[in-house]
């Protein structure tokens, strides 16, 4: 590690911008074990550190490609975009932040919703994009997840939501908070209709996202070592004025405390979902809904 010269600690980027995805270059330093690993090796390993099994954060699109049959998915509600309803300004205008992140991610907001099949089972999938303002949940995320639920009710599909979020988006004030109730009320209908909802929690899933849909799956599944909780660890430390134990609020801790059904390695997630669907939706899989060619996008 001698050749890896540690620079003077740079001014820290806001949490949502830190370790978004793997940085450019041939080598990458693992956030967890601090080992320098060959990037291509990490990529081959489903973006998981070959030394310590740390799951690097990946983009929403990468997840969809890995999970859906042939990597195909039909995206919907792509025209929904955020508005600055509060005319919110902190150190920067919310309107400018939106434009920034849209430029950076090519997305209008922090969630992609789509339809496809997994192992032949028809699914509606919503995936959060952490690269867009820390995956924060505002009106757009709330509306898109709610529409996913409604689509499941119409098409009698299963719902899969992959969470990766710091929680509600402060720049939309109480409107963000209300998305928790809106989505949960829609999930009440899904629940009563007897349609399956599998919630996948990835690093990190905290705040209002955990305290609404992420914890409401018929099955709640997590990737290894993901930070999952209601309050963020720093807030808890400040409140109780003591250091938190190692592993606190990690997936393994939540399984131990009965809050998650199980943990799955990223490379096994697709197979695990198919096993779940066999129980939830029956064997064999209903034949896939044919998707019009024009709408099909290659992930």
């Amino acid at each position: 590690m001698a050749w890896f010269k540690k620079e003077k600690t740079p001014k820290q980027a806001p949490p949502e911008e830190r370790r978004l995805q793997m940085p450019e270059g041939l080598w990458v330093k693992c956030e967890n074990c601090r080992e320098i690993v060959y990037k291509r090796e990490v990529a081959r390993n489903a973006n998981v550190c070959p030394k310590c099994n740390y799951h690097f954060r990946i983009s929403a699109r990468e997840r969809l490609e890995a999970l859906l049959d042939e990597g195909f998915y039909e995206e919907f509600d792509t025209g929904i975009a955020p508005v600055d309803a509060l005319e919110f300004v902190d150190t920067k205008k919310y309107a400018d932040r939106i434009a920034d992140y849209q430029g950076r991610t090519g997305l209008k907001d922090a969630l992609i919703s789509c339809r496809g099949t997994i192992g032949g089972y028809p699914v509606v999938v919503a995936v959060m994009e952490y690269g867009f303002m820390g995956g924060s949940m505002g009106s757009v995320v709330g509306e898109k997840v709610t529409r996913c639920v409604e689509r499941c009710l119409e098409e009698r599909s299963a719902l899969v939501v992959i969470s990766c979020s710091g929680g509600a988006r402060m720049q939309e004030g109480a409107l963000s908070l209300m998305q928790m109730a809106k989505i949960s009320a829609a999930l009440a209908r899904l629940d009563e209709a007897g349609l399956p909802f599998v919630s996948i929690l990835t690093d990190p899933t905290t705040g209002g996202v955990t305290a609404s849909y992420a914890m409401l799956g018929d099955l709640n599944i997590a990737e290894p070592k993901a930070l999952i909780g209601f309050a963020g660890p720093r807030v808890i430390e400040q409140t109780i004025r003591q250091k938190l134990p190692v592993g606190f609020q990690r997936s393994e801790f939540l399984v131990e405390h009965g809050m998650l059904d199980f943990i799955v390695e990223r490379s096994q997630m697709r197979e695990a979902l198919i096993s779940c669907f066999k129980f939830l939706m029956g064997v064999p899989a209903p034949s896939a809904v044919p998707v019009p060619a024009a709408d099909v996008r290659e992930g």
Binding site: L86, D90, T146, E172, G173, A181, K182, G207, G208, F230
Partner: protein, 318 residues
Amino acid sequence: MAEQDGFEAAILDLERRIESLSGMGEDLGIRRQREKLERELEETRARVFASLTPWQKTLVARHPKRPYTLDYVRHLVEEFVEIHGDRRYSDDPAIVSGFGLFRGDPVAVIGHQKGRDTKEKIYRNFGMPRPEGYRKALRVMRLAEKFGRPILTFIDTPGAYPGIGAEERGQAEAIAHNLREMAKLRVPVIVTVTGEGGSGGALAIGVGNRVNILEFAVYSVISPEGCAAILWRDASRNREAAGAMRITAAELLALDVVDEIVPEAPGGAHSDPARQAAIVGDVLARQLQDLRRLEGGELIAQRFERFRKLGRFTETLP
């Protein structure tokens, strides 16, 4: 509060001067002087409370003398029976629940409860519930539903408690579960934000057919201090954060987050808790009468639609 922001100083000063005149006899001069001061007090109160900033409203909402759930219960609910415990782990004193007669009719009451003195503040955990508080709340809601009784909830919390035990026992799950299950209740649910509507910890008993807010109460996704610490990286920018997040009653009404603003007694709810309770009671009675006309399924549908439409975005069709 005077020491926190100073806007109540003129009011407190007048109150002290009126107080000092008592016991000085009833001659004409003294009486005139007192009447003059009382008029001045009334005008000052009206003027100060008509122009509170969002941060000052936050301070009024957190006022140590602000009426809490059990104060409303005392004034509004006869034969109140408090019931305890989530039947899973323990009882949480940060949420009180029970039943009684509201203007003659049986109702369930659930609300956050803060303490007045140091000992009670600690006992009530400053109104910050743990998961068992939310689970108790849902248990009581289900009880009300089983026997066809309306549910009145009162919101006044800084937020759900951020602690180790709370996380271990599933704070997030407890809140999420309430949000979903409240959407299924077949009885009327009326929510009133009486003080601080602190984020998910407030919303977890806040999914109602009607959502009211007191004139100087606030309701927000995060506290102004918390928002300032994250976005400005400086918790002392709380005044700006309080303004930016649109946390006041009128702003929330404009966003459809609340349905009705309940006026406060002159000088704020704490200046006259009995009068404030009567004002709240009148609003609740009217809304209950409206909601009693709806069947269970209609109540669920109305509550769903109320929340379904919340949010602002644009949509261009491809």
